[in-house]
Amino acid sequence: MAETWLTIVLAGLLTFGIRLSFIALAGVWQPPPLFQSALRYVPPAVLSAIILPEMFIQDGAVVIFPVNPRLVAGILAIGLAWRTRSTFLTIVAGMLALYALQWLGG
């Protein structure tokens, strides 16, 4: 339990540090342009690195066949997000698809 609290406090300090970084440094230091363009790719890279394993990995291994409900529901959600740009629709339809596929698969 002590290690859990250590993790929480450390993650909290790092998060706070990131959010404060440029606000505190304004007028003192400007980041190099390469760093600024690299930051643009942080959200898509990090979030995709979380999303794809959630879709592909089951119990520690890549599962495509037989039908992996999370993979199919995820692909459906990506299509919906692309077409509709609606957060609500993407999440609700994704969960309903997952339940339907899990139910069909027994």
Binding site: M1, T4, W5, L6, T7, I8, L10, A11, G12, L14, T15, F16, I18, R19, L20, S21, F22, I23, A24, L25, A26, P31, L34, S37, A38, L39, R40, Y41, V42, P43, P44, A45, V46, L47, S48, A49, I50, I51, L52, P53, E54, M55, F56, I57, G60, A73, G74, A77, I78, A81, W82, R85, T87, T90, I91, G94, M95, L98, Y99, Q102
Partner: protein, 230 residues
Amino acid sequence: MTAKSLFLQGMKDAIPILVGVAPFGMIYGVLALQAGLSLAAAQGMSLVVFAGSAQFVTVKLIEAGTPWFVIALTAFVINLRHALYSASLAPYLQHLKPHWKGLLAYVLVDEAYALGITRFEQPGSRLQRHWYLLGAGVALWLCWQVSTAAGIFLGAQIPAGWSLDFTLALTFIALVVPSLKDRPMILAAATAGITAVAGYSLPHKLGLILAAAVGIAAGLLSEKLWQKPG
């Protein structure tokens, strides 16, 4: 507008967003308990970290027995996008005292940033607008704490078989997919995703950090390759 009315306006403008934040906070509370965190640690993380996506991933990693320094590093990488918000707001907050900067940094979650930057970019005097950002941040903070508590309260009654953890992937899909506006962005996302799947069995769950680095590098490289003249 006075400081008080700006603060209240910020809170009011956050209300529609809270409808989406509250379920997410509740699901976090449920998952934290299912992962074996104590009541205090589950709520404590919402108070100390106050970052939805990083909290979800942290809980998963704690459950998997990941070493603390890898979890902290992963949370750092996930929240690195907040450096973008910090850089973007910095010019508007430069005149404030350090305690104000600290307070606003603490509540600078995705949604607070989105509301705040919209307000700061409007024409007119900007000297009091930090009150608006604070109002939005406080509303989001309160919602996150209360919904976490509600999730912790419900936690014991919701079976793990409901696959609620999948809402994390779906929320991120809803966030990322509409933001992929050009080829370098798509390439960064695809490369990072594939690397994360391929590197899933790397020791200490380091795959996510590696995947983020590879994705960012792919984005930067392809930007150079596809740069349009002018």
